[in-house]
Symmetry: C2
Subunit: 320 residues, 2 copies
Amino acid sequence: MNEIRKKILIIGGLGFIGKNLYLSLVQDGHAVTMLTHTMRDEGDGFVTPEVKEHILSGSILDKAFLEEALASYDVIFSLAGSSGAADSIKDPYHDLDTNLKGHLNILEACKKINPKVLLIFPSTRLVYGKPDTETVSEQHPLRPESIYAIHKITTEQYYLMYYHLYGIRSIIYRVANPYGPYQRFGSNHYGILNWFIHKAIHREKIELYGDGSQVRDFIHIQDVIKLFKISMDNERIVGRIFNVGSGKGTSLIQAAKAISTCVPETNIVLKAWPEIDQKIETGDYISDITLVNNETGWQPLINIEDGIRETIAFYQRKVT
Amino acid sequence: MNEIRKKILIIGGLGFIGKNLYLSLVQDGHAVTMLTHTMRDEGDGFVTPEVKEHILSGSILDKAFLEEALASYDVIFSLAGSSGAADSIKDPYHDLDTNLKGHLNILEACKKINPKVLLIFPSTRLVYGKPDTETVSEQHPLRPESIYAIHKITTEQYYLMYYHLYGIRSIIYRVANPYGPYQRFGSNHYGILNWFIHKAIHREKIELYGDGSQVRDFIHIQDVIKLFKISMDNERIVGRIFNVGSGKGTSLIQAAKAISTCVPETNIVLKAWPEIDQKIETGDYISDITLVNNETGWQPLINIEDGIRETIAFYQRKVT
């Protein structure tokens, strides 16, 4: 690699995105630390004794801790926070504390002790709510339908404001539906495709609401990571918001069928819509990724069939 | 009056909007209670012994209190919360607690004990940031430049979400720059025109930044109140956001000169821009009020010269 070795912190490093990001950045020769609140071993073999040495334990709700911990990094990936639209509706206060306060703490600490840092913050396609158009650009109106999505918008605006007022540089990505290795089993919050894969591998039913025709934009985590990495050296995208997705739509039933070609025993079941899920269902979604492609040259390369096959193989190795 | 007498609560009842609203609703024969956290007497003669009987003391941060207090009202004007863009930047956490948590508490309490209520929430034109267009419609992009404005957007979205998910009815008004009687002296947060009037009456300098050519949309509080009142009986505007302003632009120097025709000793001084103020200056702003006019028939009637003259007369009576 030609880029200069960077000192990088991944806040929320032991989550789905964080683990994949860590492995890729280390492979590129960067000095990477992960900051995490919970040191739970998830049985995926990620936390080896060597990796453990790069884990820093602490909470983004602890301001004094952050004012020590965030110094001296070149880049901070700000991945912490609770995720889950449905959970956030049940307990809006918890989401407010972990997401809004946590990110304000990160920004205030950077302003104080590391104002030259570059922050990369993943937001979500859920900020758009029900799309007006077949593909959704960054100009689409924001109509969030959960506390989680509302607070993602608030946090996006925090990052932009700290850039405009104090010059704290950040890049915001509205990520579609990522999938791939290292997502915790049992979590259906964000990674619906991984959840389906887990179900198939564990011989559980894949339940689809309605006729399963809901369209999502699934993107392999490695494509996301590739974009995150080139973002560290692109000053023209600082202080801006970009969609990240495959730019292609796949229905849930198509995704489930693609899984069933790899796991022949897959049991797909159609089910009536539960009321609350129907209310917060955002409708078909496909990212318009023109802007990020124009500004960075990035484009997703992993097609969904290959991505699903490779992801299934990863989780099968972990299960057996 | 022909409308049915309503049971109305004004949360934040002792603020600028609250006091004007109270007097007008009582005059119409409604049963009005004000909820306030601070019982400070502001020397404006508002809190008479009779008015005092209609004041309920408590905090919107006290959930248990709200779950008692908010029962049985037909309409709640949700005016509480700290105001001030500059202050919110200095202490984002305070704004987060008082504005976001407070309004979540109000919504949660209504959901629990008064789901049939109608809530009216005033937001601010500051949600738009620097306008792209001469007049600003509700479709204009949101580019908030302070924590205060960011949190107003968050709160708007809370109200809309509670309507869509739980049917808690609310109406949101993005208010331009209101002015008129009963604003506390010393507060320049929201009511810049009132602040100028206070300065003139107290023989202090009116300081304008730059050449004073910044355009604002000043609206007399009585015009705002008139809209708030007709909103209580218009089901078609529920669950929606509307601009409220005069629809006309007045520069700060024009406003100051209008004051000086009523208070001849007025001393207007031009001053260089302080850095932080220049950064958060939102640029010229004029509301596009087509939507609210179409949906309600409302239009502002008080022109700025009459409004200023009448407001000065009110404060002069209080000073002397």
